[in-house]
């Protein structure tokens, strides 16, 4: 298991959130882990940016002014199937049926409920963006429980492996 807090070189991420404060704080959080984040306030802006910069990791707010977060995720996956997507939301809870379904169906690779732990954000970015961090899975385990423990000790980290 690689160190989650270790900055990985040239890691980049896209943050899509209509709250500028949230964008800024995620940018700072990711920067603390050596990840350079680009932020954008709308789904259309995200798609436009994505065309030129195929970010490996995208943090998507569930509620965006111009498009549902889930729709944006679908569109981004269509553009680049291997992309890692983390939904970050104040609307859903970790145990929302919709979120569980999305994790199960690989619509999203992780979910963070606001307010979140900074380590969880950093861990996710590192795990997905730097490519070294994998969560061990024990077969038959509930996805949530499996993902929770060994990754980054964050109760809010629900990385899908």
């Amino acid at each position: 298991m690689s160190g989650v807090d270790e900055p990985s070189s040239a890691a980049t991420a896209l943050v899509v959130d209509d709250d500028p404060d949230m964008c800024r704080i995620l940018e700072l959080a990711l920067a603390s882990a050596g990840c350079i984040a680009t932020t954008v306030g709308s789904a259309r802006g995200a798609i436009a940016l994505f065309a030129d910069h195929p970010f490996p990791v995208v943090f998507v707010d569930a509620r965006l002014p111009d498009m549902d977060g889930w729709r944006l995720i679908e569109d981004l996956r269509r553009l680049r199937p291997m992309i890692r997507i983390i939904m970050i939301s104040g609307y859903y809870f970790e145990d929302d049926v919709r979120v569980a379904q999305a994790l199960q169906a690989s619509e999203i690779d992780g979910f963070l409920a606001k307010p979140f732990r900074v380590e969880a954000v950093v861990a996710m970015a590192a795990a997905l963006g730097a490519g070294g961090h994998r969560h061990p899975i024990r077969s038959g385990d509930d996805a949530r429980l499996t993902l929770r423990q060994p990754c980054c000790r964050s109760p809010r980290c629900f990385l899908r492996t």
Binding site: D19, D21, M22, R24, I25, L26, L28, A29, S32, R63, L64, P65, D66, M67, D68, R71, S89, G90, Y91, A113, K114, P115, F116, R117, V118, E119, V121
Partner: protein, 497 residues
Amino acid sequence: MLLSALDHESFFHAAMATIPSSILIFDERLAVLMANRNFLDKSRSTLEATLGRRLHEIFPTAFQDTALDQQIREVIGSGTTLHRQRMTFRAPGVSLRVYSYSICPLQLHGGARGAILVMDDVTDHLRLGEEVRRMQVHLASIVESARDLIISTDPSGAIMTWNNAAELATGYSQNDMRGRLLADQIEAPQDRDVADCFRQIARIGDLRAVEWPMRCRDGQTIPVSWHLSRMTGTGGEVTGVVVVGRNLVEQRAMEAQMRQAEKLAALGMVIGGIAHEIRNPLGVSSAAAQLMRRGVGSAELIEECIGKVIGGIERASLVVESLLRFARPGPLRETTRVDVAAVLTNALMFASGEAAAGTTVDWKPPPPTRQAYAQGVQNLLELVIINLMLNAFQAMPEGGKLSIELWFDGPEIVIEIGDTGFGIPPAHVSKIFDPFFTTGGGKQRSGLGLSVSHSIVRQHGGSLTVRTAAREGTIFTVRLPAARADKRAVRAVLQVV
């Protein structure tokens, strides 16, 4: 004309023949000296068969239970008149007749004395009187048992009658109120409206459903909806005013309950969106604090993080505060100057969680120099706007544009909430303000939203109207009277129009 110019005998006969009473003259032995035409007609007898007969011979046995002979003797003996006695005539097969009679002593020729008996059939008269009295009692019992306040006044507005319901509602009895001006029983400033109303009563026909708060004995006032109608005499002159009032206390309590239920329903509906509104700034604060703990580095960044911590908490607190204010059952009659732009902004915050993705909002709050204030209850006005916005969002499940406009039209503030949704079918337009009318398929909405909104706006002295076009959208227009210019909170009473 001098009495001496009369021919007494011919006068006597003329009077006897024309007076519509039955008249008999008796001597001391109670023998008939004279009987007039009316008596002969009534008794179906002739003068010949009557003159010289004794009282008991000419009177039917049906009268015998009246001690008439005794009374005539007493009158003759005492020389004093017996006035307005009553006797009844009962005979098989004949309906009961009632006679009123008087007996007057007479001086006869040769020093003899006699008496004159004058009788009137008052049966019909009495029956009519009885009917009138029964009708009066009946009407009075209607007035007394009515649940509405029924008051009558003279043309100047002085109270003449005051029913039981008025006494129950106010604690004042009819005796307390008789002669007092109705206007003095109405709370200021509406008391002036009442006084004006009576000053112009000749010109006012019917005044319907005006709400004037009424003073009670215990110092409280109660909301009453009044109907005034003139009473006019045969010459068309105003003889008085009938004032019927409906005590609105219970209705108000029910409306308050409905509003509270609707507020909670609206809250339940928008709570998801609200959670988002609160958790977002909390997320910012929490993450900023965590970054500081991790040691973000430069003093500048720490300062920025501190700002984010505080800013986020303030934002979340504001949301929670407006939620509390909105959900609270506010006093119904305490109005304040309400900043309408703030109402629109708050309502948008509450309702926007229900907006479909792809919904844009066109809303530019007016500059501080053009602030619009309405006199009203803030959370009720918010409820109105939230309902209109929720309606708009529900009409646009695929997204669209919500437009919010706010402007002045003379003394009125006009708010328009427009959507680009599917419009309201013509068949539904007239029903949308009815309670429980909903096309939402029962999903979440109570069907009370628009009806409650309508009643709230009306109580603020405003109006709520709708324009709609199929597939183009719907615009709801709220008109509210602008608040008076003075800055301090004014205690006013919501008016029903």
